[in-house]
């Protein structure tokens, strides 16, 4: 059992690395524009010129998929980072303060957790702003609660520990204790939180863009490409297949990683 979990993690990581290379490094060597239209060559099957074929505007599909993957990854990464940072700040504030402030933060979290996420997503993207970065920033602002709760719990425990008491007794300043001693202990939790957010945001991006609420044409993303694939005539199999393949691989990889991290941390707890 233990071996399987580690293998899952490594496998997922390896695949993710490949995808990142595909999205960010390969374009350096494969210098084809994802935006350049060539109406003389629409919907052509895979060939030497266009290894994954072209879409209905004659744009090279491989270039679009590479760029699309990059866009999806980037916005998900940034949103996860923002969510993590807010979660850490909220968790630290709630964990270290006593009484009203501590409770207030948690009540706020409870209220926000109660909001139906799907509705919020649709509201934000549909009404508030079409800009993908703004929407995702707002989304991140609504996703910090789990992290905050976990961090708060950990901090409350640490505050009672002999280690913490020794540090305080030594007269170390609060920033030093927090950044130098407490954060290293929470590394694992940060990582899990981030990875789970990351997996979640990737799916959100794909879904939103698929519905037309995320990235906007002509900017490609895994979601928009999938959306586009719906409207392409039957027979242009390559569009669906390649897009779908990348999505499946990416989502599976991230899930493997998330599972692996969760399981290996759980193991540490039960020991």
């Amino acid at each position: 059992m233990k071996i399987r979990k580690i293998e899952n993690l490594r496998f997922g990581l390896a695949v993710l690395v490949l995808i990142v290379v595909f999205a960010f490094v390969l374009p350096v060597f494969y210098r084809v524009s994802p935006y350049e239209q060539d109406l003389s060559n629409p919907l052509s099957a895979p060939s030497i010129d266009h290894p994954m074929g072209t879409d209905m505007y004659g744009r090279d599909l491989m270039a679009r998929i590479m760029k699309g993957t990059a866009n999806t990854l980037m916005v998900s990464f940034l949103a996860s980072l923002v969510s993590l940072i807010i979660g850490i700040i909220a968790g630290v504030i709630s964990g270290f303060s006593r009484g009203i402030i501590s409770e207030l933060v948690m009540r706020l979290a409870d209220v926000l957790l109660g909001f139906p996420k799907l509705v919020m997503i649709l509201l934000i993207s549909g009404i508030l702003s079409r800009d993908i970065f703004v929407s995702f920033f707002l989304l991140a602002c609504l996703s910090w609660m789990e992290t905050a709760r976990i961090i708060r719990g950990e901090i409350k425990v640490i505050k009672e520990s002999l280690l913490y008491k020794s540090l305080v007794a030594a007269g170390l300043s609060f920033p030093k204790v927090l950044l130098g001693y407490i954060f290293p202990l929470l590394r694992g939790k940060f990582l899990v939180s981030f990875t789970l957010s990351f997996a979640s945001f990737i799916l959100i991006e794909i879904s939103l863009s698929f519905l037309g609420l995320g990235y906007a044409s002509p900017e490609p993303s895994l979601g928009t490409l999938l959306r586009q694939a719906r409207y392409d005539p039957a027979g242009s199999y390559w569009i669906v297949i390649f897009t779908g393949l990348v999505i499946i691989i990416l989502v599976s990889a991230v899930n493997f990683i998330a599972d692996g991290i969760k399981d290996s941390l759980e193991e540490n707890v039960s020991r």
Binding site: L162, K165, S166, A169, A170, L172, G180, Y181
Partner: protein, 236 residues
């Protein structure tokens, strides 16, 4: 007992988690400079709570703690951190007192702080450890060695008082004796004052000068170490 000689004074200390059931009831005592005062009591008698109150981790319901005639419980902010460095704790479990990811060197450097000039090596030597321990992690050391590191860490802040809260209970007899001898020598050499809190008869007999008996939060008796030894030697 001249006033100049008293380094720590605890007055009417009452500590508890609720007003009605205090765990420490009206405890008062004096600690002289260079003395080791033991607070001896069974488990659950409130000893550790006294230590936590003096160290400032629990706010007492009532009472004062005077270090060199300054009430340290009332001080806040930066000054409080400075004063904190003058009273250092040594806890029971050294594994839990040290950060598992930090090397010994880093731990001591952080404690020394800005008062450089005294190197990490010097403090390690004081507790009988050589320079090879600097780059090690806590997981690589034995319990006795770790407790020595904790003592070194406490010394880094140039404290006047050490609060020893069951410092040897987790160790076997051999290690206990070695550590007790070390602490005794350090006390004599650097004129430190100890508040020893424990239920272990051997430690009290060997290290202390005066003993307070604590039962259910109250001090029931005061005696010299000699009197204590006579009374409890059979219980060993």
């Amino acid at each position: 007992m001249s006033r100049d000689n008293i380094i720590l004074e605890v007055k009417h200390l009452t500590v508890g988690y609720s007003q009605k059931k205090p765990v420490v009831k009206d405890v008062s005592f004096l600690l002289k400079k260079g003395e080791c005062l033991a607070i001896f009591g069974k488990l659950g008698s409130g000893k550790t709570t006294i230590a936590m109150a003096i160290l400032g981790f629990i706010a007492p319901i009532y009472g004062m703690v005077l270090l060199n005639s300054i009430n340290i419980l009332k001080i806040r902010g930066r000054k409080r951190r400075e004063i904190r460095r003058r009273i250092q704790p040594i806890f029971q479990d050294p594994f839990l007192s040290l950060h598992p990811m930090k090397r010994i060197k880093t731990v001591l450097e952080d404690s020394i702080g800005r008062e450089s000039g005294k190197s990490v090596k010097r403090y390690l030597n004081m507790v009988g450890l050589d320079a090879s321990y600097m780059d090690r992690l806590p997981s690589q050391l034995s319990g006795g060695e770790l407790q020595r590191v904790c003592i070194a860490k406490a010394l880094c802040t140039n404290p006047e008082v050490l609060i020893l809260d069951e410092p040897f209970t987790a160790q076997d007899h051999v290690t206990k004796v070695k550590l007790a001898v070390l602490l005794r020598d350090l006390k004599n050499k650097y004129n430190l004052s100890y508040l020893l809190i424990t239920h272990d008869i051997f430690t009290v007999s060997f290290l202390s000068d005066r003993v307070l008996l604590l039962d259910q939060g109250k001090i029931t008796e005061t005696m010299t170490a000699g009197e204590f030894r006579e009374k409890y030697i059979a219980e060993l």
